[in-house]
């Protein structure tokens, strides 16, 4: 199916917002730099708002959204609820932050909220009609993306603020997130290779006589060595491996982090965009011949 860039950008920003929020909750639990907390919270809120606005550009009649959302089984409704809950959690976090040190319960709340929101977003694309999406590995990828993009964003904020006590931790989060992205993508490629979709043999659509038959077999091959290889390997190498390497290079070093953090964030975002685009292009329907 066609790549839906609005939804891709929305889910990317959802991962950033959740990753930064959960990451700063973790930093609060670890007793790391309090100086970073407010800017990080602002970035998390900003990412949530930007993502939310971009998602509206996907709607053909966005003005009708205000009198409609109500079907709780809908992924979009659940995402909207997720955004509202995240917003409320960010406000609560801000209130306790204004009072001084972030208490442990608020840190835990931020981690749970961030994880929960990403899982909700991933769940909206779990559709049996799209076998390539209908796997819990989608959740795993989104969580990995949340860790690497959130970690790299925190890393960059720490580098800008020269919050030295946070640099190493955020670099490590980025490194671990990058490894998680690599592992999740390899697991996904194995899943795609094992997919078995309904086949009808030869067929012909008289309304579109020059259209080639849909190749529903070999989706894994498409990812690994076919037309989608650039997306897949780009996401794995750039968005996973290189981001992880950058994090590992600063695993124990708190100096000269800015360039590494900025590069890691760019890699994480580029990889996130690439694999999401690949997911749309591989997302043929269960009956793909219409």
């Amino acid at each position: 199916m066609e790549v839906q860039w609005s939804l891709i950008v929305f889910t990317l920003f959802a991962c950033i917002a959740s990753g930064v929020f959960a990451g700063q909750g973790l930093l609060a639990l670890l007793g790391k730099s309090e100086r970073l907390q407010k800017p990080a919270l602002a970035v998390s809120l900003g990412a949530l708002v930007v993502g939310g606005i971009v998602s509206f550009t996907h709607l053909q009649h966005w003005e009708r959204a205000f009198n409609g959302f109500g079907n709780l089984s809908s992924g979009i409704t659940q995402e909207l609820i997720g955004i509202v809950v995240m917003f409320v959690l960010i406000v609560i976090y801000f209130v306790v932050l204004r009072r001084g040190t972030v208490p442990k319960w608020a840190g835990i709340l931020a981690i749970i909220g961030g994880l929960g929101f990403v899982l909700v977003v991933a769940s909206s694309y779990m559709m049996p009609a799209r076998p390539a999406w209908s796997t819990p590995l989608l959740h795993v990828f989104y969580l990995a993306q949340m860790v690497v993009s959130g970690g790299a964003t925190l890393w960059l904020i720490a580098a800008v603020l020269k919050a030295d006590d946070t640099l190493v931790v955020s670099a490590r989060i980025t490194a671990i997130g990058g490894v998680c992205v690599v592992v999740s993508l390899i697991a996904y490629a194995l899943y795609a290779s094992s997919l078995s979709l309904p086949m009808v043999g030869n067929y012909f659509d008289p309304t579109d006589p020059t259209k080639p038959m849909v190749a529903v077999a070999g989706l894994g091959g498409e990812l690994l060595a076919g037309g989608l290889a650039a997306y897949f390997w780009g996401a794995l190498v750039v968005g996973g491996a290189i981001a992880a390497i950058l994090g590992f290079l600063k695993w124990n070093r708190a100096e000269g982090n800015f360039g590494f953090a900025a590069a890691a964030l760019v890699c994480a975002l580029a990889g996130g965009l690439a694999f999401r685009a690949a997911l749309y292009l591989i997302g043929v329907s269960a009956y793909a011949f219409y």
Binding site: L59, G68, N71, S73, G201, Y287, F289
Partner: protein, 194 residues
Amino acid sequence: MTQYAIVTDLDRCVGCLACSVACKMVNSVPIGQFWNKTLRIGPNPKNEGDNWPDVELYYLTVQCQHCEKPQCVEVCPTGASQKLADGTVQIDKQKCIGCQFCVMACPYNVRYLNEDERVVEKCTLCEQLIADGGLPQCVTQCGGRARYFGDIDDPASEVSTLLAAEDPATVHSLPDVGNLPTFKYILRNMKWRG
């Protein structure tokens, strides 16, 4: 419960496309879009390894299957896609926000975004006609008399009697991913390939 559906006897279908054309005419389906398509499945070997002339083909009419558990209804955030009391799945265009999640959630790809109205459309089973006791236009126009319309949940209906008279092995549905398609296809003496 009522469940309106279409049963198609594929042995009678000659692939004339009259149903596809009639559907476009009566529902003003935009250019490039189809609420009802006639696919040619085959020619495929009768048995593995067979070559021509040991091949077979059939025509398969595909449209919204007005599923028992429609995934499109489940994912619709505003309730624009809904299952009515007559079993048909309809779209309230006034409620549709054009998010197209229903398009993604349909296993048969039979939903389209109407670029002019910016809402999603699909086969309505000609609700404007069946509400008046008529037949869907694709059924009316079928030259081979391959298509039958009625309440598949009513044992006395024409479609139910037709199905009851068939060997169950000859009655098929499109692939089911939990949506329970209600349309049935009858194919005798040929291998059903979906």
